[in-house]
Each structure stands twice: as structure tokens, then as C-alpha cells.
Amino acid sequence: MSIFSQLTVNGLIAGSIYALVASGFSLIYGTNKFMHFAHGVSVAVAAYLLYSFFSLAGINFYFSVLLTLIFSGVFGLLMYRGIYLPLQNKKASNVILLIASIGILILVENLIQIIYGADVKVINFIEVAQGLNFFGAIITPLQIVIILSSVILFVSLYFFMKKTRLGRDMRAVADNKELASIVGINYKRVASYSFIIGSVLAGIAGILIGLEQNLRPLMGTDLIIRGFTGAVIGGITSVPASILGSYILGFAENYGIWFLPSGYKDAIAFALLLIFLLFRPRGLFGLKREVEK
């Protein structure tokens, strides 16, 4: 029983982390309709920023978090305004934007490696606390914070999308860009905001992941593959679907190692990614149009 509980808890933690990445990725995909792979490096940048502000510069932790989130939003906006928007203005196709985003990912990852070095970094904010026993599973207070804050975040994101004017505009653009611009929605403004909000979500993900795990220059690639896989499983066009898909991925990986050696954790994610891309590219909860010919 305790193995099952432990795997459930681990799946929940992994799922929360993946969902934090996938939610921003999917939000940006919704309004822009291209795969912003560099979203993974936004997470890594946030983690390293927090490390710089808090661990290197010694700034107060909560103020460091605030600074990190502001910089994350700015970073997202810069990518959009500096690279994606000029490409879109030149009528670049989605695949060009995808390739450009992989270029940004590689570029920034290697910049991180030059600036901070290839060795792992640790943010020592919370002393490694005694794990709590939870139905036979061990869980640390930080992990509880991760799970709770992601749930709170997703609920508030849901209400933001449903209740605010900007959220409504984003959904309108995601649903039908032409129609949205006919009814007077400024597309560029909405796209800019979705990059800012999506990247702040990446910032929050980076902070929580940075507190839980070691920082590695290449962490962004691993995270975006997971977040992307989660989004594909759920349905990339919908933020709630992507979040659900990410939890499914987290559980699948962890329950999977009940049967398989733990080295196959990655393989489970990739197998799911491939199966969904090939047999159900719109995901479990996504809509059919726009994916298949």
C-alpha cells in the first residue's frame, strides 16, 4: 500500500510541475497557434534568476521572487516582440516559428551554461525538512507547497480566462483570430499579453522547480518536452486540457516504474508522446479541426 501511496504522491508532484510548464505553453499556443518551444528555457531562466537574486546577490527571498516574475514576463515579451512578431509580420509559417523557437532555446541554454557554468546549482531557501508521512508516503513541505500552489494557480487562471475582459479576448482570439479582429479585438495586444502571462507562469514554474531540484543549464529542454507531452496528451489548444494531460503524464511515469526499470521513466513519456502524436494528435480532450488534413 505504501508503494502505491508513494507513487501517487510522486505522480502528483511530477504532474504539478509538468502542468506548470504546459499551462503557459498551451496558453501561448492558443492565441498564437505556433509551438513556442523556447518556453522551456523561460523556466530555466527564471530558476537561474532566482538563484542570482537570492543565492548570489543575497536579496530578500520574497523580493527575489517578485523580481524573477517581473523579469520572466519581460523575457517573454522580448521574445515575442523581438523575434516572433517580426517573423509573423513577414508571413513566416508556423514551422519557421517553431524552428526559430528551437533556435532561441538552444541559444539561451548555452548562454546560461557560459554564464553560470555546466555544474549544477542549488537554491538553499528551505532547509531539507523532515518528510511528512502521508498515508504511508513521504512528502516534504516544499512538495506540498508545489502541489497546492499549482492548484491555486490553475483555479485562478481558470477564473481569469472566464471572468476578465483580457481572458475573454484571449479565448476569442484562440477560437477564431479573424472573427476576433472583426469584433475589434487588438490581436497584437492579446498576443503580447499571452506571452507575458505565459512566461510569468513559466517563471512560477521555474521558481518552484528551482527550489525542489538542482539547476542545470539544459533543464529547459527536458521540461519543455514534458510540458509539451502533457499538452499533447490533454489537447494542446486548451489550457485546462493541457493541465489534465500533464497530470496524466506524471502519474503514468510514476506508476509505470512499478512495472519497468526506473531508467524507462523517460521512455514512458516519449512513448505516450509518440502514441498521441500519431493516433490522437488532438489529445484526449481537444477539438479535431486544425490537426489533421
Binding site: 517580426p86 519557421i96 524552428i99 526559430a100 533556435g103 548555452n110 518536452i225 502524436l277
Partner: protein, 295 residues
Amino acid sequence: MPVEFISPYITNLLIFIGIYIILVVSLNLTLGYTGMLNLGHVALFAIGAYTSALLMTRLDFPFVIAFLAAGIFAGFFGYVLVLATKKLKGDYFALATLGFAFIVVNLLLNLQGLTHGPLGIPGIPKPSLFGLTIQSNFSYLIFVAIVAFVSVFIIYKIVKSPFGRILEATRDDEIGLRVLGKNTVKLKYKAMIISGFFAGIAGSLFAHYLSFIDPSSFHLSEIILVLTIVIVGGLASIKGSILASFVILLIPEVLRFLALPSSIIGPGRQIIYALILITILMYKPRGLFGRVDLE
């Protein structure tokens, strides 16, 4: 032992350029000529490298067989890739092929009984042809040059033939070509098999030159490198791909002459490639000799 006319440093660079020319020109066949947004080409390269290395180290196959098997096996995987993805459009096709590349690297890491996982395969023998072993780097360069020349010549003949013309028509308007009675799906299979074959033999050349391979040679950054070369040279331009292979692979060599530490040279090289890629996409998306747009 032939006389070494050129310095070992230049020889080494030229060998890599030769291998990349095969890899990039074969990618241009699918990406540029046929319009298939194939981001999984490096995986076929990896499959060729591992096939050839394993056949020689594990099963003592003669080089010629291992070399051809590398091409055939990679071509077969090209076929499987099209079979699996033929229903997908645009960026989903691109992503599925990218996903395929991730999966191949992951399998190379995890099928430890076969591939030694992250430890890689050491002791890959130098090729021997007709009883002669290609020992020195200089003779390896000659060998690579011959293979590259023949490969490029064949691909050139293909793209200039009536078959090549309907590959280009597939790229320009698939429906328009189907109503003229051409089976475009079959054409894509053929293009991918040929492209995979040459990626596979490039992989074989790569493995036997380095005599050691591990999964890290086939990561995302490698995909960016081959894409950068194809795009800089120009889609549907063989001349462009060849020229760009020289230019792009030589540019980061500047870092060596700046006497930078090796911990900076590695990432520095990636940064240069990524910057070139982003810049060319933004300011000259057709590259040096491109005739068509990437869509």
C-alpha cells in the same frame, strides 16, 4: 602510408564537412525539394551510425556490408516515419518527426544491452575495403570525399530527373499533383527512403571516423545545426547546401583561435549556430541560393 599534404587540423575539419555535406544534401531532398518538414533527420543519421558500429563491433561484419546496412536500415526507418505520420499536417508533422528524434536518442540511452546507453560504443574499427584498411586520417578524407561526391551526384541526378520534378510539384501543390494522377504519398515514401539511406551512410562514416559514438552526438543541438546549414544554403539548392556546410562549420573555428577555454568553445559554437539560424530566418529566409519558401 600516403604523404600528409595538409595539416591534421584541416584534415579533421574537412572530414566532418564531407560527412555533413551528405547529411545536409540528403535532408534537402525531403525538406527543400519535397517540402516535408522533417526535423527527424538526425535520428536517421544516428540509426546509421549505430547500425554500422554494432554490426562491426558485435557481429564482425565486413565494413562494406555494415556501411550499406547503415543506409538501408536508416532508409527503412525513414519509411516507417512517413508511414506513421502521413495523416499529420504542417507543424504537427514537424513535431512528430522531432518527437521521433527524441525517442531514438532515448532508446539509444535506454537499450543498454544493445547500445551501452550513455557509455556509448568504443573501439569501432576503421573501414577496410578490398583488403586495404583506411588507417590514416588523410586516406579517410579521400574516402569521405569519394562517398560524398557519389552521394551528391546521385541526389543531384534525382532532383534533375522527371521524378525530382514531381517531388517539387508535391511541395508546391499536393492536391494539384494528385488530380494529375500522381500518388504523392508514395512519392514521399520514396523521398524519405532515399534521404534516410544517405543519412545512414553519413552516420556510418561518422562512427568509423570517430571510432567512438554515444547518444550525445545526436541531440537537439545537432538538429539545429543541420537545419541551419540547409536553410542558410537555401531550400532546394544542392549548391547552397554544399557551400553552407563549409561556411557554417568553419565559422565557429574562430573561437579556437581566440584561445578561449574549452568550456566556452562548446556552448559558444551552439550560440553561433543558433544566432545564425535566427538571423537568417528573420532577414534572409531563402538563404544563399534558395528558390522556395519554407512553409
